[in-house]
Symmetry: C2
Subunit: 414 residues, 2 copies
């Protein structure tokens, strides 16, 4: 999906700004892309993660996908793990969300992270860095000097600091230092670009100022939207809904089974699919434009692209084919009841399966339905009453227009 011909700086810019909320400053990014093309020096594109929550869903991959687009254009992704701050945590114990981590926990989390992010990022063009590399060597005096580069009034422009301060909720002094540490990371990494969610805009802009103070050209800052969940609705032409999150159940996890990822993508509304596509697809703008007239195809393309990303191209093709085979003529029902049966190792005859799944009341009723052509297995009509479903296996059973069940056969536990 990476362009076979190097894109012009203008075309790179058009691709990179797709789906972004803000770019500070667009002209600077344009200039840097021109310069990179001229000098052959790739841009260093930073994004920071704290080393705590390593189980990613699609929402986390919005930024990673943008990083990957940079990589596809020949630039370097710098994946920064903020272990310095993570290992300090919040020693006041006021915020249980930031427990201090040990060095071992950080490294373990980093490995988990890497396994996941390298499904999106190209490892060959990625630097994985830990800010402890430079922060552990930083003295208190250095930190005081760093702090001298910023003033309180500017820090208090950050929404959460200001509102907590005004509402008499405690803001610990060390919290004021963290944006400066994050900013200094950009100095240490010589970042050309930093990406983050819209909630990160304040910290990202501090990076620009601190880099300037340390004699570096200020990084370009790009923010990306927080991905809305699979339950988002269209209201007055806009997508409205909670952001994707595990706790709300409106997520697509990158470790889910391929069928589940593909199926969830197929189940979302068209407007949401276009939104996800814009943010999560590595396709060029031109490729996306060519899909505009065919939302069903676009949805399948997105599902396939995501499964290919998190598993493999082969698995993605299989999942798509299987899906098309089963549901080419029908809408996918919102929810399919699932039944799991312990079945004999030699398999279960289809009439018994239909009865156990609750689609018919007797096996003779089942046989009649089969011979009348009212029964499908995995979307295909079955008329042979002697058909046996193998154990183990997972089958989509349909009877008539309304009866549907996903049946899982498992062998008796040894």
């Amino acid at each position: 999906m990476s362009p076979s011909q190097p894109l012009s700086p203008e075309a790179q810019l058009a691709l990179l700004e797709r789906g972004t909320v803000q770019i500070h400053q667009r002209a600077e990014l344009a200039e840097r892309l021109v310069q990179a093309a001229r000098t052959g020096r790739p841009l260093r594109v930073k994004t920071g993660y704290d080393p705590t929550a390593p189980d990613l869903h699609l929402g986390h991959t919005v930024t990673l996908t943008k990083m990957r687009q940079f990589q596809d254009l020949g630039h370097i992704a710098v994946f920064l793990i903020g272990d310095f701050t993570g290992r300090i945590g919040d020693p006041t114990g006021k915020k249980s969300t930031r427990p201090a981590l040990t060095k071992e926990q950080v490294l373990e989390n980093a490995e988990t992270y890497k396994r996941q992010v390298f499904k999106v990022l190209d490892p060959e063009r990625t630097e994985v860095r830990f800010n402890s590399e430079w922060m552990d060597a930083m003295t208190a005096a250095d930190l005081v000097r760093l702090a001298s580069h910023y003033n309180l009034a500017r820090l208090m422009e950050r929404e959460d600091f200001r509102s907590r301060y005004q509402n008499n909720e405690p803001v610990s002094v060390h919290e004021l230092l963290y944006p400066l540490v994050q900013a200094y990371d950009s100095v240490a990494l010589q970042a050309d670009v930093e990406l983050g969610g819209t909630d990160q805009i304040f910290n990202l802009l501090v990076g620009r100022e601190i880099q300037r103070d340390y004699g570096q050209p200020p990084q370009v800052v790009m923010t990306l939207p927080l991905l809305v969940g699979t339950d988002a609705r269209l209201e007055d032409g806009s997508l409205v809904g909670d952001k994707m999150s595990k706790s709300l159940g409106n997520y697509i996890g990158i470790n889910e089974p391929p069928e589940s990822i593909f199926g969830k993508v197929m189940s979302i509304s068209d407007p949401l699919m276009w939104h996800y596509t814009e943010l999560l697809s590595r396709r060029t703008n031109e490729e996306l434009a060519s899909l505009k007239g065919d939302p069903l195809r676009a949805k399948k393309e997105l599902g396939q692209e995501l499964v290919a990303r998190f598993y493999s191209a082969e698995v993605a093709a299989e999942v798509r084919t299987a899906f098309e085979r089963r549901f080419s003529q029908h809408q996918l029902p919102d929810e399919i009841p699932e039944v799991t049966l312990v079945a004999p190792p030699e398999g279960l005859p289809l009439p018994s399966a239909l009865k156990e799944a609750g689609l018919v009341s007797t096996t003779s009723d089942a046989r009649r339905n089969i011979t009348q052509g009212a029964v499908k297995v995995d979307g295909e009509k079955v008329t042979a009453v002697e058909r046996v479903l193998a154990t183990p296996g997972c089958y989509l059973l349909q009877k008539g227009k309304l009866g549907i069940c996903r049946l899982r056969l498992t062998p008796a536990s040894e």
Copy 2:
């Protein structure tokens, strides 16, 4: 002047609280004095100085004198030089009053400091410490942890932070760290007591809280008034005036000549003298009480005590005797003009001296005045016209009621 008998803890407390503005908490100080008497472990009494302005006047010695009282009672003075912060200064360059100092400058200033402070403090019971001892070893991570012990709202209770913030004047983030560093100094020094000016109260109290957080009993905080200058007036029973300062010229410097220190003390008003005595004398409360009825004597005692402190007991006795000899019957004029002459090594005849000093227009006029008994040298009438003033020497010349001049004779430079 140190008490020959160990004072009871109650008597120690009465002496130590003399002249203080605030004690947090008086009961804790009482308790610590009792404990020190019982265990024989002296209290560690800290005061901090920044290593910039080493030319001290009496105003600087108010705190030092309180430290000396502690020493006289058997306790330890910890004289802390804040070289860590001094060497960082204010790198933003916003405040020209805090230039960064080199290590060499700090050490040089420290030596100058020591020469001066040991005129007040007993070197045997003094620890001179530099906060770079522990702050240079402190990592950025340690400083973040330290900062986590304090919150922004508390820091903003400091008057200058609050008012600058509210008036949109910049408060640099590193300035917020300095009170925490000063507080941590108390942890590192295991201070039992910290002394400071009333303008230091905020920082001193932060020390209490940080010590508690680091598992130490919180230090007793004592503040002392800013000494008013020699030009303070009495208004409605209170002394009113600017604080003593070099730039206002209302100071008594500890490096001034003995006569000048003694003379300036003698020239201040009685209420100001009592105020200075309370703050600057090492005498016991009982000794001061016994002086209450005799302000002239009290003033001489203070002048003598201060000259003894900054020079020696002998010099102090001489200066007092000379003063009494000269001015026992007269008021000291506000200002005595001074004239310095290069004189021959064999000395200068008095008539020539009177002419050169501008008290007479001719030497014959001088001789007539001498023979008429109108001329005094150092307060004593001289009627011998052949009197020669020795070189080198310093003389107070008087002619009649109005003519007065201090004449310094120096030999021609070799």
